[in-house]
C-alpha cells in the first residue's frame, strides 16, 4: 500500500504526459482526466486508511527501495519512511490533491491542453510525496526541488502569457536561493554526523549537542548552524519574509494550482522540514529564536499587504504567507505539534478559499480584480457559502478548525519564555484582526454591495458545475470539523501517543491562561469582521477616503513594501551589468585584447618590421654583411 501511494501519481503523470503529445481530442482528454484523478483518489483513500489505522496505536515503517547515491562514506537511498509526521502530510497532500484533480476537470474544461495540466498536477503530487516519505535529507532534497519544478511548470502553464513565464522563473529561482541554504545544511549535517539518514542523525543528536563547526573561519555551534541553513531552505519554499516575493506572482498559474501548491502543500514543506528536524532545532535555541523572529515578522508583514490588494488571488496568497508565519512561530517556540496542526487545518480551509476564488473567477469570466466584481451573491450561492465557511475558519471563529489550531499557537506565544515570544504574541494578535479584516473585505467586495460589473457580464454570471462544487463541499467539511476531531491527537491529551516520537512534543499548561487572553483572538476576529463590514457595506466610500488620507502608507502597502523594486535594483540589475562587464570588457578587451589577439597583433607588427629588412637591394644586404663581419671581427679580437 505504501508503495502504491508513491507509484500511482507517478504512473498517472507518465500516462497523462504521454497523452499530451497526441493531438488533443475528447477521448484523450477524458482518459487523462480519469486516469490521473482516479489514481490520486485511490492514493488519498489509502493515505486516509493508513492515517486512521495508526491514529491510536501508531506504527513506524521504513522501507528502503534501492540505492541512489553512495560514494565513499556518503550514502543515500530511495526510501519510504512512514511515521506520524509523514502520515499527516500524506493525508493533507493526497486528499487536497485528489480534490484539486477533480475540481480541475471542471475548471480547465475549456483549456486545450488538459492532459498536460493533469500530468503536471500528478507530477507535483509525486514529488511532494517523495519529499515527505524520505528517510534521508537527500531524497527530501529531491522532492524539494521536484515540487519546485512542478510549481515552475504549473505557474507557467499558460506559456503564452509573458507574466506567467516571468512568475514561473521567479518562483524557481527564489526557491533555488532557499535550496542553496538547504544544500549547505545537508553538507553540514553530513560532515558533523557522518550520515544524512534521519534515524542516524536524530538518534545521535544529543551526543553532538556541544560540537562546534568551523564555518568561514568562525567556530560556530554546529546544530545552530545546521538549523539556520535548513531554515533558509524552509524560508524559500514557505515564502517567508525576504524570500516571499515569488508567492504572490505565482498566482499567475491556474487557480487549482494555487490551491494545491501555493496554499495546502508545497508551501508548507518548509514547516514540515522544521518539524521533521525538531530533534535538531530543539537543541539549537538561537536557531529557534530566528525562526520565531522571521515567522512572526512574516505573519505581520503579509497581513498588512493583504489589507489593500485588489486581486482576489493575491489577497489569499498573502494570507497564506501570513498563516505560514504563524506555523513557523509555533515551531520556533517548540510547539511542533501545534505547527503541524495548523498546517493540517490550514490546508483544508485555504484550499477551500482558493478553489472558491476559482469558482468566482470562473463565474465572472476570468476576472481577478475585485474592483470589477461585487453583488454576485445571488448568482453563486453555494460558492459564497463555501467561502464563508473557509473565511470563518481562517479568522478562527470558535469551534471551526482554524480556531483550534490558531488559538493553540497564540496561546503558546503568550505562555512561552522564548526571547521573541512577546514580539511574536503581539504581532500574531494584531495579525488576527488583519486576517479577519482582509478576509471579510474580500468577501464583501466580491459578493456584496453594488455590482461594479458591466450589465451584460453580470447577467452571464453563473454557479459552477457540480464537479467543481463537490470538492468545495468536502473541503468545507474539513475546514469546519477536522480541528475539533483531531485536536486531542495533534496537541492535546493523546499527543504523546499520536506522534510516537516522530517529532519532539513539549507539554504546556494551558489552564493558567487568563480568560481574556483565552477569548481575545475570537473577539479580535469578530472585531475585524465588524470593521470590514462597516468600511465596505455600511459606508462603502470610507475605505477609499482612508486610502486617500494616508496615501504614502497605502502605496507602501499596495506595492508590497517595495521588495520587488528593491531586489530588482540590488540583485537583478547588478547581476546583468556585471555579466555585461565581464563579457564585453574583461573577456573581450582585456583577456582577448592582451591575450590571443594582442599576441597575434604583436607577432604581425614584428613581422612587418622584419619584412622591411628584406628590401631586395643587393647593397642593403652587402651593408648588413659588412656590419656583421666587423662585429664578429671586433668580438674575436677583443676576446683574445
Amino acid at each position: 500500500m505504501a508503495h502504491s501511494i508513491i507509484l500511482l501519481p507517478l504512473i498517472g503523470f507518465l500516462i497523462s504526459c504521454s497523452l499530451s503529445f497526441f493531438k488533443s481530442n475528447k477521448f484523450i482528454d477524458r482518459a487523462a482526466e480519469i486516469i490521473t484523478s482516479l489514481f490520486i483518489t485511490i492514493t488519498a483513500i489509502f493515505s486516509f486508511y493508513i492515517f486512521i489505522d495508526n491514529i491510536g496505536d501508531p506504527s513506524f515503517v521504513s522501507i528502503k527501495l534501492f540505492n541512489w547515491i553512495s560514494s565513499g562514506s556518503f550514502n543515500a537511498d530511495w526510501s519510504i519512511y512512514l511515521d506520524t509526521a509523514t502520515r499527516v502530510m500524506l493525508v493533507v497532500i493526497t486528499s487536497v490533491s485528489a480534490l484539486v484533480h477533480i475540481y480541475s476537470v471542471g475548471y480547465m474544461s475549456h483549456d486545450d491542453s488538459k492532459p498536460r495540466f493533469m500530468g503536471y498536477l500528478s507530477l507535483f503530487t509525486f514529488a511532494m510525496l517523495m519529499l515527505v516519505t524520505a528517510d534521508n535529507f537527500l531524497q527530501l532534497f529531491f522532492g524539494w526541488e521536484g515540487v519546485g519544478l512542478a510549481s515552475y511548470l504549473l505557474i507557467g502553464f499558460w506559456y503564452k502569457k509573458p507574466t506567467a513565464n516571468a512568475a514561473a522563473i521567479k518562483a524557481f529561482i527564489v526557491n533555488r536561493i532557499g535550496d542553496f541554504g538547504l544544500a549547505l545544511g545537508i553538507f553540514t549535517i553530513f560532515i558533523v554526523f557522518g550520515s544524512i539518514e534521519y534515524q542516524t542523525v536524530f538518534n545521535n543528536v544529543t551526543s553532538f549537542k556541544n560540537v562546534n563547526f568551523n564555518f568561514l573561519g568562525i567556530e560556530l555551534h554546529a546544530l545552530t548552524l545546521i538549523c539556520i541553513f535548513l531554515f533558509i531552505g524552509a524560508m524559500g519554499k514557505s515564502a517567508q519574509l525576504f524570500l516571499h516575493t515569488w508567492l504572490p506572482d505565482a498566482m499567475e498559474g491556474p487557480t487549482p494550482v494555487s490551491a494545491l501548491i501555493h496554499a495546502a502543500t508545497m508551501v508548507t514543506a518548509g514547516v514540515f522540514l522544521v518539524v521533521r528536524c525538531s530533534p535538531l532545532f530543539d537543541l539549537a535555541p538561537v536557531a529557534l529564536d530566528f525562526v520565531v523572529l522571521i515567522g512572526a515578522s512574516t505573519a505581520f508583514f503579509a497581513a498588512t499587504v493583504g489589507l489593500v490588494q485588489n486581486d482576489i488571488k493575491r489577497v489569499i496568497a498573502y494570507s497564506t504567507c501570513s498563516q505560514l508565519g504563524y506555523m513557523f512561530v509555533a515551531a520556533g517556540l517548540g510547539a511542533y505539534g501545534a505547527a503541524m496542526f495548523h498546517l493540517f487545518t490550514h490546508a483544508f480551509f485555504k484550499a477551500l478559499l482558493f478553489l472558491g476564488a476559482g469558482s468566482v473567477i470562473h463565474a465572472v469570466h476570468e476576472e481577478q480584480d475585485m474592483r470589477k466584481m461585487g453583488g454576485i451573491s445571488n448568482f453563486v450561492p453555494i460558492t459564497q457559502l463555501m467561502m464563508i465557511i473557509g473565511t470563518i475558519s481562517l479568522m478562527g471563529f470558535p469551534f471551526t478548525s482554524g480556531y483550534y489550531s490558531k488559538d493553540a499557537i497564540i496561546e503558546t506565544a503568550y505562555l512561552s519564555n522564548s526571547n521573541f515570544a512577546d514580539y511574536a504574541y503581539i504581532l500574531l494578535t494584531v495579525g488576527v484582526v488583519m486576517t479577519s479584516f482582509y478576509s471579510w473585505r474580500l468577501m464583501f467586495l466580491v459578493f456584496n454591495g453594488k455590482t461594479r460589473m458591466a450589465e451584460e457580464d453580470l447577467s452571464k454570471v453563473h454557479e459552477s458545475s457540480s464537479v467543481m462544487l463537490i470538492p468545495l463541499i468536502i473541503l468545507a467539511i474539513g475546514a469546519l470539523f477536522f480541528g475539533f476531531l483531531f485536536k486531542n491527537y495533534f496537541i492535546g491529551y493523546y499527543s504523546d501517543v499520536f506522534w510516537n516520537g516522530s517529532i519532539v512534543v513539549h507539554h504546556e499548561d494551558h489552564h493558567s491562561i487568563p480568560l481574556l487572553i483565552y477569548y481575545l483572538p475570537a473577539i479580535l476576529g469578530i472585531a475585524g469582521f465588524i470593521i470590514a463590514w462597516f468600511m465596505y457595506i455600511r459606508k462603502s466610500d470610507m475605505a477609499k477616503n482612508i486610502a486617500e488620507l494616508n496615501k504614502p502608507l497605502y502605496n507602501f502597502l499596495l506595492n508590497k513594501w517595495y521588495f520587488d523594486e528593491l531586489y530588482n535594483s540590488i540583485f537583478v540589475k547588478p547581476a546583468m551589468a556585471i555579466g555585461q562587464i565581464f563579457w564585453k570588457f574583461i573577456d573581450g578587451l582585456i583577456i582577448d585584447g592582451y591575450g590571443p589577439n594582442g599576441i597575434a597583433a604583436l607577432v604581425s607588427r614584428i613581422s612587418i618590421k622584419a619584412k622591411q629588412v628584406q628590401s631586395g637591394f643587393i647593397y642593403h644586404y652587402a651593408f648588413a654583411i659588412l656590419i656583421g663581419l666587423s662585429i664578429i671581427i671586433t668580438f674575436i679580437i677583443f676576446r683574445f
Binding site: S20, F21, F66, N67, W68, I69, S70, S71, G72, F74, L138, F141, F142, E145, G146, L149, Y152, G156, Y159, K160, P162, N165, A168, I169, F172, I173, R176, I177, D179, F180, A183, L184, I186, F187, T188, F190, I191, N214, F215, L216, G217, A575, M576, I578, G579, Q580, F582, W583, I586, D587, I591, D592, G595, P596
Partner: protein
C-alpha cells in the same frame, strides 16, 4: 593479457574505416550518402565493441585492465595501453558520441562530405587513444593529434568567423601544450621512462613537482578551460558546426579533466596540494563569472559554451579536494556534462538547421510547433541546472559536498553557481520555447524528425537513468578512485 587487444582495436577501427571511405571516389549525392552510412556503421560498430569493455571489466580491480604493452621507441617509451575505472567511461562516452555526431551531420553538411567524415573518424582515434594511453609520449601524440581534425572541422565547415576561431583554438591549445611536452622530455631525461604506471609510484622531489605541475597545468587549464584562459571556447563553439561543438564540449574538454586526475594529482601530489587553493579560486571565479556572462548572452551557442566553462569549474573543484566524493563527483560531472552539453548543442543544431540563426531573440513560442523538441530540450536544461533526478545533480552534489568538507569559503561561492545556473538556463529556455509564436518565419518550423528523435532518445534515457540510479557508474569509478586517493594520501604523508 594475451587475449584480444581490444583497446587497439577500438583505436584503430576508425583508421580502417578511413581507408574504406577513401575507396568511395565519386562526388555525387549517392556516394556522399554511402559515405555517411559507412562512417555511421563503423563508429556504431566501435561503440558496440566498446560496450563489451563494460562486460569484461573487473569491478573489484582498481588497477589498469585490458593492458597492452609493446616496446616502441626506446626501452623507456612503449606502446602501452590500459584503462581503469577512471578512464573506461570516457572511452565509452567517446564511442557513443561520435556516431551521434555523424548522424547529426546527415543533413547539415553539404560539401566535402568525405573529408568531413574522415576528420571525425581520425578524431575518434585520437580521442580514444588519449583515454587509453599509459605512456606519456603516446598520450601527448594523441592529445595533440586530436587538434588537427578539430582544426579542420571548425576551419572548413564552420560559420562566418571560422578562420579566426579555429586559429585561436588551435594556437591557444598548442601553446599550452608546449609546456607539457617540455615536462615530458624532462621526465624522460630524469627518470628514464615515460611509462605512466611506473611514474605513478615514482617520487618526484618537491621542486620538480612544482615546476612539472605548472607545465602540465598550463596545458590542461587551457583545454578544460579554466578562467581566464577560456575565451577560445565560446568562439570555437559558435563557429563550429553542430557536431563539432558536440565533440568539443562532450569529449575534448574532458581530456583535460582526465589529465588532471591521472597526471597532475597522480604524479605531483605535493604540488597539487600546494596549488589546490589556487585552483579552487580560479574554479570559483569561473563558476560565478561565466554564469553571469551566460546570463547576458544573445547567442544560444555562446550561452551554452559559457555555461560549459562554469560546469567544468565544478570538475576542477572536485578533483583537487583529493576526496573520494570530490573525484567521483568530478568524473560523474564530466560524464554528465558530456551527455548534457552535447545534447544542448544538438538542440541548438535542430533549430539552426531550420532557421539558420543562433540568435535567441529570433525565436520564441516554439512549444506550439515543436512539442517533442521542447520536451527534450527541457530535460537537458533541467540536467544543466542540476535538478535532482538528472545526471547533472549527482556530480554537482558530490563535488559541493566534498569542497564543503575541505573549505567552506569556496563551497559557499561555488554553491551560488547553482542559483545562477538555474537563472540562465531557464531564461534561455523561456525565450526560445515559451511565449506566443508570433514571429513570421517561425510558422514554418516543424518538430523533430525520426533521425533527430533517434539522436536524442539515448541521451534523454542516460540523463534520467544516471540521475536516478548512478550506482552502476559509481561502482565502476569507485575502486580506482579510492586507489588514487589512497596513493595521494600515502605520498603526502
Amino acid at each position: 593479457m594475451s587475449e584480444i587487444p581490444i583497446l587497439s582495436i577500438l583505436i584503430f577501427i576508425p583508421v580502417v574505416g578511413i581507408f574504406f571511405m577513401l575507396l568511395i571516389r565519386n562526388n555525387d549525392d549517392q556516394s556522399s550518402q554511402n559515405l555517411k552510412h559507412t562512417a555511421l556503421w563503423i563508429t556504431f560498430l566501435n561503440f558496440i565493441i566498446s560496450l563489451s569493455l563494460l562486460f569484461s571489466f573487473d569491478l573489484n580491480n582498481p588497477d589498469f585492465q585490458f593492458v597492452e604493452k609493446y616496446a616502441w621507441i626506446e626501452s623507456g617509451i612503449s606502446y602501452h595501453l590500459g584503462i581503469d575505472g577512471v578512464s573506461i567511461l570516457f572511452v565509452i562516452l567517446t564511442t557513443m558520441l561520435v556516431p551521434i555526431c555523424i548522424l547529426a551531420s546527415y543533413e547539415s553538411i553539404k560539401f566535402s562530405v568525405k573529408e568531413y567524415l574522415i576528420s571525425f573518424l581520425a578524431l575518434e582515434t585520437f580521442m580514444i587513444g588519449v583515454f587509453c594511453s599509459l605512456d606519456l609520449v603516446l598520450f601527448y601524440l594523441f592529445f595533440e593529434g586530436g587538434l588537427i581534425p578539430m582544426f579542420l572541422i571548425i576551419g572548413i565547415w564552420g560559420g562566418e568567423r571560422r578562420v579566426y576561431s579555429t586559429f585561436k583554438f588551435f594556437l591557444y591549445t598548442l601553446a599550452g601544450s608546449v609546456f607539457m611536452l617540455l615536462a615530458i622530455i624532462y621526465i624522460f631525461i630524469s627518470t628514464g621512462t615515460t611509462d605512466v604506471e611506473t611514474l605513478l609510484v615514482y617520487n618526484f622531489t618537491t621542486n620538480e613537482q612544482l615546476i612539472l605541475w605548472i607545465a602540465f597545468f598550463t596545458s590542461f587549464m587551457v583545454k578544460i578551460p579554466m578562467w581566464p584562459f577560456h575565451t577560445w571556447l565560446p568562439d570555437a563553439h559558435v563557429e563550429a558546426p553542430t557536431a563539432g561543438s558536440v565533440i568539443l564540449a562532450g569529449v575534448l574538454l574532458k581530456m583535460a579533466g582526465y589529465g588532471f586526475i591521472r597526471f597532475s594529482i597522480g604524479f605531483f601530489p605535493d604540488a597539487s596540494e600546494f596549488f589546490a587553493p589556487f585552483i579552487f579560486s580560479l574554479s570559483v571565479i569561473a563558476i560565478i563569472v561565466t554564469s553571469l556572462i551566460a546570463l547576458v548572452q544573445e547567442d544560444m551557442k555562446k550561452l551554452i559554451a559559457y555555461s560549459s566553462v562554469a560546469h567544468m569549474g565544478f570538475v576542477t573543484l572536485g578533483i583537487f579536494t583529493f576526496t573520494v566524493q570530490g573525484i567521483e563527483g568530478g568524473i560523474i560531472q564530466m560524464i554528465s556534462h558530456g551527455i548534457v552539453s552535447a545534447a544542448l548543442f544538438l538542440c541548438v543544431g535542430v533549430v539552426y538547421d531550420r532557421l539558420h540563426t543562433r540568435e535567441i531573440a529570433r525565436y520564441g513560442g516554439l512549444v506550439s510547433k515543436m512539442p517533442f523538441y521542447s520536451f527534450s530540450f527541457m530535460i537537458f536544461i533541467l540536467a544543466s541546472l542540476g535538478l535532482p533526478g538528472t545526471s547533472g545533480f549527482v556530480g554537482e552534489f558530490l563535488v559541493l559536498l566534498s569542497i564543503f568538507t575541505v573549505n567552506t569559503y569556496f563551497a559557499i561561492f561555488a554553491t551560488t553557481g547553482v542559483v545562477l545556473a538555474a537563472t540562465y538556463s531557464l531564461w534561455l529556455y523561456r525565450r526560445i520555447i515559451f511565449g506566443a509564436l508570433i514571429k513570421d518565419d517561425l510558422s514554418e518550423m516543424f518538430d523533430l524528425t525520426r533521425r533527430e528523435i533517434i539522436i536524442f532518445l539515448p541521451l534523454i534515457i542516460l540523463t534520467v537513468f544516471i540521475g536516478l540510479y548512478p550506482k552502476p557508474i559509481i561502482n565502476i569509478i569507485e575502486p580506482s578512485t579510492e586507489k588514487i586517493v589512497n596513493q595521494i594520501k600515502m605520498k603526502l604523508d
